[in-house]
Symmetry: C2
Amino acid sequence: MNEMIAPRRAARLTGRIDPVAIEAVTRALAARFGNQLVTSQAVREQHGHTLTWTPNEPPDAVVYAQSTQDVADVVKICAEHLVPVIAFGTGTSLEGHVNAPLGGVSIDLSMMKNILAIHPEDLDCVVEAGVTRKEVNEYLRDTGLFFPIDPGADASIGGMAATRASGTNAVRYGTMKDNVLGLTVVTAEGEILKTATRAKKSSAGYDLTRLFIGSEGTLGIITEITLKLYGIPEAISAATCQFPSVKAACDTVIETIQTGLPIARIELADALTVRAFNNHAKLGLIEAPMLFLEFHGTEASVAEQTQRFGEIAEAHGGGPFQWATKPEDRSRLWQARHDVYWAHQTLRPGVRPLATDVCVPISRLADCVTQTARDAEESGILAPIVGHVGDGNFHCGPLVDVNDPDEVERVKNFLERLVRRGLEMGGTCTGEHGVGQAKMKYMLEEHSPAALELMRTIKRALDPKNIMNPGKVVAV
Amino acid sequence: MNEMIAPRRAARLTGRIDPVAIEAVTRALAARFGNQLVTSQAVREQHGHTLTWTPNEPPDAVVYAQSTQDVADVVKICAEHLVPVIAFGTGTSLEGHVNAPLGGVSIDLSMMKNILAIHPEDLDCVVEAGVTRKEVNEYLRDTGLFFPIDPGADASIGGMAATRASGTNAVRYGTMKDNVLGLTVVTAEGEILKTATRAKKSSAGYDLTRLFIGSEGTLGIITEITLKLYGIPEAISAATCQFPSVKAACDTVIETIQTGLPIARIELADALTVRAFNNHAKLGLIEAPMLFLEFHGTEASVAEQTQRFGEIAEAHGGGPFQWATKPEDRSRLWQARHDVYWAHQTLRPGVRPLATDVCVPISRLADCVTQTARDAEESGILAPIVGHVGDGNFHCGPLVDVNDPDEVERVKNFLERLVRRGLEMGGTCTGEHGVGQAKMKYMLEEHSPAALELMRTIKRALDPKNIMNPGKVVAV
């Protein structure tokens, strides 16, 4: 090791950064990046933006990266001066992931939009981090292939990998952890590495791919992703089915999963959410709890799945079904589902919904959802529920007037009870949104002190200067 | 930190251990474990046993652990004296994973056979590390559920997790990384932790589960595993189909995977292997390349899959099919496949087959297999090929007279070329056997220096004393 830099390597960021360091970094970035560097107030605030009530904590500067090398260069410059780097994709995260609580430089990857390779014969493709999920599928349109993971927002693939995202198709196709073959990552030292080959499986060493997936930019920055692709099913059939109660809908889901029916999507919307869909997308539905369903397969297998599901639903009082086999009808249905965040806003105009999520073992789903609905009612909170219930994962989005301190307090307590309920049922404090800033307080409740300390050991080892998205996940 | 122990914490094992340390550890273990501690030559050698030509390097002592706490206590005692600990399951690893090159204590987990919980309603179960895959399925027999991962040997679930094992069902059900919800792990400091809840998915922090899966006991010791289970398919149909060439068989596999046919098993055996099956299990097959197949689903979907596969196979000159729908016929077929290591020995009695594996992107499968077969022929080596070809993964088991130095040299060179061929085709040096000692030399070729250094950083951080199965995977 070079003795000149040894003392500096031992230094690490422990609080708000030194303004002198920021000035030095900004100067160096301006020299290297010209007008890819932006320091205007508006752009900085946009990069600390959040859809929730987490306060905006803007970075000191934003660099629009155009390549992995750009990202590496920003990290190297920041590492030299102990200045934080925060990766930014589309800004749709929900738990304060992109905030800059200590200040620092936001690396905006949204211009990294190259599809680097498509290997239809291997059912994979390689994309830059700024490509969004819809752009991937747009690009694949003529190949007969698709990429299934679909968080509500049209998020960037890099952000989806960094938060271990999933969405409506996860019940059949898994989450980002199951659908990434390998990553290109920029480390905390500004080194560029690949985590894996394109082989479908490997036992050759530690699973670096899965280590970075879900690490929320705290261990390194994901710049390229090799994604698994799937053939577009020969037959797709979508439907909605209404139920007398949320419990009846959940029990239908539980039985569907337990019988191994390979359903592609099974989504719950409670009566409040159905009203919101009617408001927002004019779906004209009866305001009762509902499942959104989709079946993938051959014509014969879709017909068979549909029939079997119908029998299960009927036994729980479900029906009638509304079918959508035409692509445009299906799109309308799923667009409504994906726009739920905006739909929920129609329930109480001018007030923000706060999206949060928990995930429990499927056998506890009905209990968790019904107890949560009862808690909301008893607390006088308008809290619509929607969820990827096939995985035991659901979202609850209380509508809260942030100018009413009493209401804010009630909602905060309600959300704490929701997470604790999920944990007590053997679940997790977040199924797919990630930890960010807002769920850090639950990490110790979910993980034992030893497990959390192990995460911190990894963080300290991979980011000894504590510059990679500091103050998030396991802040050390 | 306690200042008294601070200096010791900085020490780490860098070569063969001090005999005085071994003596101290053995004394402490004897006091704690009584006759669970064994130091006889025969038992020590059995714990350095390997099915390959890797030399036997026995540990200094063996402790038969009966609980997670036992494992933690052994690790604590060894950590105090800088003595290596090597986890041992059933001893069926193929790359020298259980050897003790620096000496140390082997922790035999084979007595940890408790099934701790079965949650049929959540499709999961919790088992101790010493339970074997067949024992899991035996236990599940009356539940209608099964655990699909099946490496050839009846390996322990702990060992399978530690090596990221897979097997014949991986093409449909994935590998150990896809089928473990969470682990109980003993760390290098002898702490006990759980890596995850039983929720089907989570975004709550770093993926500790996947970090330990495939880490081969070098970061911690897996003592309990929460496994995903599946409903036994309503219909199962198995078949063999023969082909005019290995290339025709591989091309059939490639097309099957590319069309998205959800085949449960698709295994290649070359003509040599078919002869070996005939010798070993009296299958009475024509000695031509063959695929072993299995279809899972409803009656209707199995019929449909079978028909579609038949069309693909026929287009590549495959046939006739031999069907096995009765459970006992299927068992006979798959037992023959799982016994391939022993079957191969019949091709040249008295000589050992050396099992190795590579895995390539599916589009390169036919090239890789045919080039390998040609290489064997040109090198005058008897090297039967068999593989989980649906994943692009195959095994090559040269039969080598270890007393013939010229032949040993030729086989070594042949195996190096095989791995390089796999890597050049975008594959991995091991699809499922793991790195152990024997594949360490390829780690730098497969991973970049930066990626390998990252693995070493993790190893140093989690095992600062270098006592967890040292000299394996990324030896630091």
